[in-house]
Subunit: 306 residues, 4 copies
């Protein structure tokens, strides 16, 4: 048995306040707007004494981070969640001495106006879609060492095509019993995250455009496999938005099995399917620009939600 004898030391560590459910209403006129957010803060820095000696003198309480998150929703506003996240992250790095880097993770839930007499209502909405917009903003260092990364994204975008997808010509071994197919349902619950090359971005327009691009390619590309579809989706997003350095896609292959009805004398020409829960294929791919700037700690997750 391999046994180690080296000194035991504190490794990387960080802390913050997760899942602050901030709802921001702008009511300057009778036509209100809403931003519905789940915000998490995460601080790195010199907190060794808290771990080694229980000394809290360098530890800004997570409760304080919470207060700041809610207060900044008014002080700075949340016109764009990415700007709001940048303001928070910069504050923690610049104003709280022991903090070396801060990460703000945001989930945004979309709402759409209730239609009354054909018009969107001023101050009533229903939740729109199951999908969640995400952002992860990381700020590190001060002065000439300052680095800032913004990752945008979405998750839980459930998308399905009922034809235009095949899977055949694959590698086989003694455990291979799958039949090749030239026509199947392809469905996934997409998670996509894209890293911006900078922070001077038309945030909402870019989000809408990337989402539309991903859906369009999924719809129109005749798919030989989910891998191919994901690559083409990511490539199209980068081609359309030079402000993107890279995009990462994670896609469970939500299997829809053609139900065997022949035994009952019923024809089933890809009309009736069983939507299975588990197991599922899980495909992950990234698409990059060769001149993408260094990602640093931008991709290191915190809550797992973003």
């Amino acid at each position: 048995m391999t046994e180690l004898t080296g000194k035991i030391v504190l490794g990387p560590h960080r802390y913050g306040k997760a899942e602050n459910r901030v709802v921001r209403i702008v009511r300057d006129t009778d036509r209100h707007t809403i931003r519905d957010l789940n915000v998490s803060s995460c601080l790195r820095g010199d907190f060794d004494a808290a771990h080694l000696d229980g000394d809290q003198s360098s530890v800004l309480p997570t409760d304080t981070q919470k207060q700041t998150i809610y207060s900044y929703a008014k002080e700075k506003g949340v016109e764009f969640v990415e700007e709001y996240g940048l303001a928070l992250a910069r504050h923690f790095v610049d104003d709280i001495e022991p903090v070396g880097a801060a990460r703000i993770e945001i989930e945004e839930y979309a709402w759409e106006r209730v239609v009354v007499d054909g018009v969107g209502h001023d101050h009533t909405w229903t939740r729109k879609g199951s999908e969640v917009r995400t952002a992860a903003i990381t700020v590190q260092g001060t002065g000439s060492e300052r680095k800032e990364w913004v990752i945008g994204g979405l998750k839980d975008l459930v998308i399905l095509k009922s034809t235009g997808s095949e899977f055949r010509g694959f590698l086989t071994d003694p455990y291979t019993v799958l039949e090749p197919t030239t026509d199947r349902i392809m469905a996934t619950s997409l998670e996509a995250r894209w890293r911006f090359a900078g922070t001077d971005v038309d945030w909402d327009e870019t989000y809408a455009g990337i989402r539309a691009t991903l859906c369009e390619v999924f719809a129109t590309l005749h798919s030989k496999a989910l891998q191919q579809t994901l690559f083409e989706m990511g490539k199209a997003a980068l081609e359309r938005y030079p402000v993107l350095a890279e995009i990462r896609l994670s896609a469970p292959n939500k299997h829809h099995f053609t139900y065997d009805l022949e035994r009952f004398g019923v024809e089933n020409a890809n009309e009736v399917f069983h939507a299975d829960d588990r197991p599922y294929g899980l495909i992950q791919a990234s698409v990059l620009r060769e001149d993408a700037p260094d990602a640093g700690i931008a991709w290191e997750p915190y809550t797992g939600a973003v």
Copy 2:
């Protein structure tokens, strides 16, 4: 201690196959349509011997019910989920001898076409909204004893208004510390179920109309309390649709607390809220027509999902 000595006997019982995830694609032309369902069957009847003696000779396996559910999606189609449910329930009562009554519970998940070049795509969709359309179809007895009930509904319809809601003038006791308010966020995740007076209904049009009516009243009624809003929502639905006998509404009061920012010198005129998870108020009300036909066993739930 109260002790009973009576004979121990079998009470009410039933069984079925829950949560069959049926996806039905109609592909008669290049423009496909999709119905995405979660279907449960439930049979009542003379199954005493199965319980008392383990004798299965009267028990149609739940696996057989599953096969029927999938096969009927092609044999009968699912143009309207209520008709599909009626066909299934009638089959079990009419064709399987020991069955005295059958209940079919259906959840339907909505999809919307992906837009490509401004046009909805032929065979690609994304999941639309978090809300679920529901139906519970019950068929009991044969011949002159035949009764049929259809309950339609929705759940997980998350709706919020940022003003136009107050709560004051309430009863107080020594545990009352709540401050009255004349302006608050009112939000809920609505569950509504409506019972039809018959089975000759324009199912999809009625569903869309009731949903729109519920949302409109929620939006436009100045609310003195969630109770009042629910009653007026239900009343409006019944007024607009004489085919409805009654409607039942269950609405968690999803509390949004105005965040205290004054301690930081920041004004918060109902602009920043904390969306709390638990506890929540839970309001349940029903609205009836006085000439509503008898509901029989129509409201007895099975899976709890409908």
Copy 3:
């Protein structure tokens, strides 16, 4: 199309505060005890004006109910959750004028002491099991009209036997493709609820005894079907506890399919299974005493959790 013309009126209604997460520590000595509860209150009574006119003068706020729930955890204690629930329900009926009936639903999460040097620690616990103990206490009316019902129970008790279960000799029809079996895994996530004949009960001892009885019968009865097993489980509980009037059991048949390994030349004599998610059989049965007192509104659910 059937159309109704009757007057539209308010039907049954009720309201309360759901899911108050009360944790009660008794720390009179160094050896602490913990009760970890999820408590919901539900009031019925004359609240018509709140629905019809928005008049809150008879409405005790759900916030007040919350305060009472937390305060009673100290004032009355929670030595037994059923007694605590009775105290709360009696209070609402007796002390709040418009209240005609009150229901308290409780989920309790079990904890077990962390073992240190072979001994249970004084004030540290880990959560024990996935199962949840439940109680639903209903109090209705005052004086000679007073009625009280207590329902105990459990849910999410996942139990499995790897042999001693068969399913054969069942009814068949053209959709029946299931093969009979004389040896299968039988597994469920049990929900059981039992109604007491009175309120003078040794609550915790009875709970432990019923739970043990249910598990024992599941283990030792050679099962010809889940229906038979459920009936015998319920019957045994009633036989052992004369204080019970009836018991209701709901059991999803969590299917474990023997995996086909023969195609790979590997024998699988009921050794490797796929645990499927959906669909699942769902069996519901009740066992009664013939002299069971009237259940009144005891079984009418509120949150759906109990």
Copy 4:
């Protein structure tokens, strides 16, 4: 706006079959044993053509991976989940030509025997606890390039102490309103993952010992902060098990707020708490040996579950 012009290329990618729900019964004698697993496979290698051209000739279907996972549960057995995972990962790397590295992620759900007449039953169990044992096995390269890493762990271990925890002396800023405390509830839902220095390990004994060590330190250390507790927990595990190279801990601070009952004239000396859902503090720390071997790709997550 920063715009990039570099060539767009495929970045890191991988794929597999997630969440195979394998249940393995050993029934060589009347006393059966059970292993209840959720197994995911993940392959890396030269799959560029599948992404760039839709060419599947190097792609072993995820369905094949599923078949292998189930078959190996019999062929190799699952006496220890880590050995089973190693066998699977080695197979994919050694026997499937395009595969450069394989990762197997496993969740294991614990069961305990039902007690009948004071004895554990031969073939009936109930699910034990909410916690999940985890393993992530990674195998990379062949021949002299071969590397193997095993990470063990647990998650969803909910642990609480009702005293012996303080939080004071922390850093303050204008947003700090938290009061220091010398006595509070400390509770978390622990996730811990530990990396082994080798693969010659007494797997089950080590798991039980680490789990016990983590719980003991949580219980017995007077805590000045969750950070301190986590570090001491990890340090104790490494001290006791020289076979460990490092341990990573992630702990949500599940806040229990002392409920304000004074306004009702009721004393509350840390006896009644509200268990809040969100937000929560989230503390993450690692403890390392200075001579820990290189971790390579061992920590790169796949499903997010491990």
